[in-house]
């Protein structure tokens, strides 16, 4: 076992300015107390913070989409904030199709026991691009890939932005968008027909295709053995 790890006690900041937590009660619908980080963000970033909203005691800060990475990096690194934990990255599209799509980051500060929701608005008719926070939080890797997969939002700076839940060759769009029908694009019979007509090899990932290419590099005997379809235990 390694001896280098010091236990990190969550909720115990060095300055000891953390109140004991308690189950929230009688939470006001609107106009609750905003998270102190909202004011700090306003003071630090000025115009990049568009609006602060408090609903059910959860603070939402709307930030300029181009400045998201700066804001997140500052929240992560600044000793007075220490938002070291990324809970979630997701997006919201409203039924009103003219409303912009919202990308939502849920951040937690374990030392200060704070919770903050960041939002960036992506207006319709413009490319859906936001900066990736992968360079700050490694945990954003799959969360951003899923968001890209489901909404088609591109996270600029993500090292490997591929489809995650759908397969890589999926061409029918982004399932969680409101213009995507609940039952999919085609009828059941049409879906079945397409699946049967597909070339299954087209679904192989790049790793497997590399293996197929390596076939030519095998020795003659190995190739013959593979072609012959060596059978064991039949």
């Amino acid at each position: 076992m390694s001896e280098t790890i010091q236990p990190v006690i969550a909720g115990h900041a060095e300055d000891g300015q953390v109140a004991a937590p308690s189950t929230p009660r009688n939470v006001p619908y609107r106009d609750g107390t905003a998270n102190p980080s909202a004011d700090a963000l306003r003071a630090r970033f000025g115009d990049a913070v568009h609006r602060v909203d408090v609903v059910w005691n959860e603070t939402t800060v709307f930030v300029d989409r181009a400045r998201v990475l700066d804001v997140v990096r500052w929240l992560h690194d600044d000793p007075s904030q220490q938002y070291d934990y990324l809970s979630d990255v997701t997006a919201v599209e409203y039924r009103d199709l003219d409303r912009p799509i919202e990308v939502v980051w849920h951040l937690r500060s374990l030392p200060h026991r704070r919770f903050l929701r960041l939002k960036a608005l992506l207006p319709k008719g413009q490319p859906l691009v936001v900066p990736s926070v992968w360079s700050v939080y490694r945990g954003a890797d799959w969360l951003e890939r899923e968001c890209y997969d489901m909404f088609g939002i591109r996270f600029e700076g993500h090292p490997d932005l591929r489809r995650l839940l759908m397969w890589e060759q999926y061409k029918e769009g982004y399932p969680l968008r409101k213009d995507f029908p609940l039952r999919g694009r085609f009828s059941r019979s049409e879906q079945l027909r397409q699946i049967l007509a597909q070339n299954p090899e087209a679904k192989y990932s790049m790793e497997e295709l590399n293996v197929l290419e390596a076939f030519d590099e095998l020795s003659i005997e190995q190739r013959a053995r593979l072609r012959g379809g060596e059978k064991v235990g039949e």
Partner: protein, 437 residues
């Protein structure tokens, strides 16, 4: 990496017994005459293949991947150089379906997402919807929900322990612990009528109150379950094989674990005492007396110890919940969300209209959004709901803890042996239903 001498028990033509009469453990190498020879590194049979990497595919249909997880591993000999996980084989669009369902109709979907933890998911979803509606639940309901959450933590950890043992090669604890899991399922069945997919909660209350005599069953379970834990403890914790298969594997340091977004026992094994029940409490968890176990090195063995201790802490919480279970109504007195009793709905005109409107149109929360996180057995499980004032959410998002925990597997298995990949994967405690949704 230092090579170690592997020893096996072999039946020898020589005596093969040591001074105490036990079979001798000898190096595998013997010469033609059966005499032992010092183990020398085998000369490479195909020197041209040295340094060549091999790709190996595990899953999606493989019992040790706990569902339909597929791992593509690049191996150098037996050492993992790179790991690429592929998921999505169980993807069925729960979040999309939720946008077309009323709040109470979504609760059955939460059963099927992390299906080892159904009561916990039901409670978590109901908490989220209640924040969206602005409902304060009754005291009895709070305690019943705590009981449901801790029971579901126990059954989830039971399955984890059983399958983890099987993956590493220990069969007996699997049988012992699954018997206990069965007892919890019998209790759940007598409470709500279902075993696996419980649909235990409703927005503003529970699907049913506990039946008469149920608390005695639970008290008996709480008394007897720790004995089984002790037995498993005796069998595993200091077992040389168990320790050898788990210590030092897949270690994550505290900073890495936080940065990768790990949660639950995975994060606590790395030495971070973050537990949603303590740090962002709900259901009055701050009034229960329990400890948060943490590990030191964040390896597979620490995760095992943390989960074993968590089960004991759950038993402590259950004991306290049993003592304080108050009488009183289970459901809130709020006609917006609570249906009238069936007997009244079939005999009283107003109640029938109320029932009809409630079922056909559904309850409408005010415009707003809520993110409610609970400590599920796998980690921080969050439900994020956005309402536009209609009876169906605009967006219902699950923050799946094992999804984020699994995303760190390439980092965890790097440099370990192929057989250790199975142990590391089992220590994450994944449920593919939750990962793919």
């Amino acid at each position: 990496m230092a090579t170690t001498t592997r020893t096996v028990e072999v039946e020898l033509s020589t005596t093969g017994l040591d001074a105490q009469g036990r079979p001798q453990r000898v190096p595998l190498a013997t010469d033609e005459a059966g005499n032992l020879v010092p183990l020398t590194p085998t000369p490479a049979l195909e020197p041209e293949l040295e340094g060549e990497h091999m790709l190996i595919n595990i899953g999606p249909q493989h019992p040790a991947t706990h569902g339909v997880l597929r791992l593509v591993l690049e191996l150098d000999g037996e050492t993992v150089v790179r790991c690429v996980p592929h998921i999505g084989y169980l993807h069925c669009g729960f979040e999309k379906i939720g946008e077309y369902r009323q709040y109470n109709q979504i609760i059955p979907w939460t059963d099927r997402e992390d299906y080892l933890n159904s009561p916990g998911n039901n409670v978590a979803f109901a908490l989220g919807a209640e924040r969206l509606f602005g409902i304060e639940i009754t005291e009895r309901c709070k305690v019943l929900r705590v009981i449901a959450m801790e029971l579901s933590r126990l059954i989830s950890h039971c399955v984890w322990l059983g399958t983890f043992c099987i993956d590493i090669g220990a069969f007996t604890p699997f049988l012992w612990i699954f018997q206990q899991r069965e007892r919890v399922y019998l209790m759940l069945e007598s409470w709500i009528g279902a075993r696996l997919t419980t649909t235990l909660t409703r927005v503003g209350g529970m699907g049913a109150d506990i039946p008469d005599g149920w608390t005695e069953d639970l008290a008996h379970f709480v008394r007897t379950f720790p004995k089984v834990l002790d037995e498993c403890n005796t069998m595993l914790t200091k077992n040389a094989i168990w320790v050898g298969r788990t210590v030092g594997l897949g270690a994550m340091s505290a900073d890495e674990a936080i940065n990768y977004g790990l949660s639950g026992p995975m994060l606590r094994a790395s030495g971070v005492a973050y537990d949603v029940r303590k740090d962002f409490p709900y259901l009055d968890y701050e009034t229960y007396d329990f400890d948060v176990p943490i590990g030191l090195s964040g390896d597979v063995y620490d995760r095992f110890l943390v989960r074993m201790e968590e089960m004991r802490q759950s038993i402590r919480i259950l004991e306290q919940a049993l003592k304080r279970l108050p009488d009183g109504p289970v459901n809130v007195d709020d006609p917006r969300v609570i249906l009238p009793p069936k007997s009244k709905a079939t005999s009283d005109m107003e109640s029938m209209i109320h029932h009809f409107k409630q079922v056909m149109e559904g309850a409408r929360p005010p415009i707003g959004e809520a993110y409610v996180a609970v400590e599920s057995p796998k980690g921080e499980k969050g439900y994020y709901m956005v309402s536009d004032g209609t009876s169906k959410p605009v967006r219902w998002r699950i923050r799946p803890p094992s999804f984020v925990n699994l995303s760190a597997i390439p980092k965890m298995v790097e440099g370990h042996l192929l057989s250790d990949v199975i142990a590391i994967n089992a220590s994450i405690d994944i449920v593919m239903g939750e990962i793919d949704r």
